[in-house]
């Protein structure tokens, strides 16, 4: 809800944030402190409701209404806020439309989500479909008309080849089928609804078989067509009615789109692939599957895709509780569905509840440490927690042993003091972690143009702060001075040696909790960027955006942007568990973007995306035939 609100009004949001940031020099404005950020507004509302002790149902209803009445109107509010700043001469000439154009090209979440999917599919393309299609048109009906249009223009078989492969029923398209009519020498026998369901049950085992090497989704329409042909004889032709045939084709198209969606990890595709028959049964019984965004089956599939957003296929999923739960729920979905969508709702609730419980369990350690009294009695846990967090920051195992020791001993004592005082994630936490990142940057062997200048600016402050930190940590003054002196020598030595990398950008990557040290990302030559398009796009990445990086040896890493450290031009990424896995220079990230070795992972619900793609492809096929 919050991401949607933020992204729907991205242009107004960025304009306001940029102006506010400019006006408040010295205070960085981002999602965490922008009063007009949807998360801040939402949190404030949540807090305002808290004293009422509302039930879960009441809260859900209220949040939905809040979404409609507040978030849906946020664009106007932000425009007005922007207007006030412009009236007061704060960046009056800022052209955010131009700035956000590149973002729009790369952020699916910034697609025109406020427009009905029907409108989106047919904008400026009204000639494709028959007149009279308005925004209130049901999606299924629109898709059917497109299929028929394609069929009428080019003949059923040819048309379907053009958009998605072989036809489902071995009968000519376009004709009105009547039981008993003769097609060639064969008498037509229409398959009744209950027989169709039995037929689909026969197909289920082939869709249960997982095949991670498959190059495409199992073709449902082909499978049904083959089965019908097998059941036909020389005298009879078994076929299904056109409505059912359309739905089978559309579900087939939908799963083909899911299969080729590059942002869906393979393990998720395999799981979702198993649901094809059951989803078809649901769609045959209830056209709401196509027409209603909030249909339980759509919500279930979307949640499956969302839960596995950070997976790449290289993880040990057999040991991942969330994956195992998803497997269990998909099995129940396939095995137990008998026409009652209540089951799907229950499975969806089960999945969400499990995800929440799992997240809570992961946070349990931090929760325990949130209580000040608890922290005092759990000193060992605090010490271990602080050490874990420091180690998470050290991705490069090759950094100076002295620096590692400095961080894990002297600085560790300081972090322990910070945790004891404020608990995990307190007000100082982010700056403390950023300080570690800056220190590590100063002793990194990879340098880029301008780093020496940045170092000269940053280091005096860094050393001053480290000195204070050591004082807080209780380190003797002489020992602290000696340590900082050694540290300074290491830092200076790092800036004296020639850059370790001349033609490739090197990225620190850790997968999961395993620190793998330096992993060369796909070779990206350090050519100066001839334009700032990619640099601008990287600058506009919001905290929380998900990216997929190509690493070496076909390794990919999915992670979310956790921090941008402008002073040294560093971007820090964490995985789904919040563990730092990648850090990148802004320029390096822009180069990777240009080279195509990093891509944005879109968070729009999977089925909405697939549905849009199906409509677009049908529309294109119809257009090509008309041309």
């Amino acid at each position: 809800m919050i991401s949607h609100a933020r992204n729907c009004d991205i242009s107004e949001y960025l304009s306001f944030t940029t102006r506010l940031d400019t006006m408040l020099h010295g205070t960085r404005i981002d999602e965490s402190n922008n009063p007009m950020d949807p998360e801040q507004i939402g949190e404030t509302f949540k807090e305002a409701l808290r004293p009422l002790g509302m039930t879960a149902t009441e809260l859900l209803v209220t949040y939905r209404k809040f979404n409609q009445s507040v978030f849906h109107k946020l664009e106007d509010v932000l425009t007005e806020a922007d207007g006030i700043l412009i009236d007061n001469n704060i960046l009056p000439d800022l052209d955010m439309a131009a700035r956000s154009r590149s973002e729009l090209q790369n952020k699916r979440s910034a697609r025109p989500q406020k427009i009905d999917p029907t409108d989106r599919a047919f904008t400026a393309e009204s000639s494709v479909v028959e007149s009279g299609l308005g925004s209130d048109q049901q999606i299924l009906s629109v898709m059917q008309k497109l299929i028929h249009r394609v069929s009428d223009n080019a003949g059923r078989q040819q048309a379907q080849d053009a958009v998605a492969g072989p036809a489902v029923a071995a009968v000519p398209g376009g004709a009105v089928l009547q039981p008993g009519m003769m097609i060639g020498n064969q008498k037509l026998e229409l398959v009744a609804s209950d027989q169709l369901l039995t037929l689909l049950n026969q197909l289920q085992p082939t869709f249960d078989a997982e095949d991670s090497n498959a190059e495409q989704a199992q073709n449902l329409s082909e499978s049904v067509g083959s089965l019908l042909q097998e059941q036909s004889s020389t005298g009879t032709l078994r076929a299904i009615d056109r409505q059912s045939s359309d739905i089978i084709n559309l579900v087939t198209f939908l799963y083909e789109e899911i299969w080729i969606d590059m942002t869906v990890p393979i393990p998720i595709k395999e799981l979702i692939g198993r649901t094809q028959i059951t989803v078809l049964k649901i769609a045959l019984e209830d056209s709401g599957f196509f027409d209603t965004v909030a249909h339980p089956a759509r919500a279930f599939l979307n949640e499956l895709a969302s839960a596995g957003l950070s997976w790449t296929g290289s993880e040990k999923l057999g040991q991942d509780p969330v994956y195992l739960k998803m497997q269990e729920l998909v099995t129940r979905f396939v095995r137990d569905f008998a026409g009652d969508t209540g089951l799907v709702e229950a499975l969806l609730e089960d999945l969400i509840a499990f995800e929440n419980e799992y997240a809570d369990a992961n946070e349990e350690k931090e929760q325990k440490l949130l209580d000040e009294d608890e922290r005092k009695h759990r000193l060992e846990e605090v010490e271990q927690y602080a050490l874990d967090k420091i180690e998470e920051r050290i991705l490069d195992k090759d950094i100076s042993p002295f620096v590692q020791s400095f961080l894990k001993n002297h600085f560790h004592k300081f972090v322990v003091q910070v945790v004891l005082r404020e608990g995990p994630g307190g007000i100082s936490w982010r700056p403390v972690m950023n300080t570690i990142d800056v220190l590590l940057w100063t002793v990194s062997t990879e340098k880029q143009e301008g780093d020496l200048r940045r170092f000269a600016k940053v280091n005096p402050r860094l050393l001053l702060n480290l000195g204070k930190a050591l004082e807080v940590a209780g380190i003797e003054k002489s020992e602290a001075e000696e340590s900082l002196g050694k540290l300074k020598s290491v830092q200076e030595a790092c800036f004296e040696t020639p850059p370790a990398v001349s033609d490739e950008d090197v990225t620190s990557i850790a997968v999961g909790n395993e620190k793998t040290g330096l992993v060369k990302s796909a070779a990206v030559h350090q050519e100066p960027l001839s334009d700032d398009e990619h640099l601008q796009e990287v600058s506009n990445y919001p905290i929380g955006i998900w990216l997929e990086f190509e690493g070496g040896a076909e390794q990919t890493v999915r992670c979310t942007l956790a921090a941008k450290i402008d002073t040294i031009g560093k971007y820090v990424f964490v995985n789904g568990q919040g563990v730092k896995v990648i850090e990148k220079s802004k320029m390096g990230l822009a180069r990777e973007l240009k080279a195509g070795t990093v891509k944005v992972i879109y968070e729009t619900p999977l089925i909405d995306r697939a549905m849009e793609s199906v409509i677009a492809k049908l529309r294109d096929a119809a257009q090509e035939q008309t041309a």
């Binding site: 009063p35 409701l49 009445s69």
Partner: protein, 110 residues
């Protein structure tokens, strides 16, 4: 620390206050509408899912007041943190711990 090439800190506060007041008024109207709609929708929910005594309409003013105070405080924090930046141990946009906090930690040293 003054804003770069822009208004003075006093003016920044004045401008932010205008934005704050305008936005809280506008958001309050929308929140009020949301509460009215939610109140009606909750009344139509099965009794098992709702509290017996809840009336969002009766609580509306109090909720709005808390909401407005919350949003206002977020605006106020911006100018407060800007003022505090003067004493912050920072390098560019980065700081380890604000000096006041650091001194407090030192004072609390066990």
């Amino acid at each position: 620390m003054e804003p770069r090439n822009g208004p003075t800190m006093d003016n920044v506060k004045k401008i932010l206050n205008i934005v704050r007041d305008g936005m809280t008024a506008k958001l309050s109207n929308h929140v009020s509408e949301a509460l009215s709609d939610a109140n009606m929708a909750i009344a139509n929910e099965p009794a098992s899912g709702r509290s017996r005594d809840l009336s969002l309409m009766a609580e509306r003013d109090a909720i709005l007041q808390r909401f407005v105070i919350g949003i206002e405080s977020k605006f106020d924090e911006l100018t407060e943190s800007s003022s505090k930046e003067i004493n912050v141990l920072d390098y560019g946009s980065l700081s380890l711990v604000e000096e006041a906090d650091l001194e407090a930690i030192i004072a609390m040293k066990v």
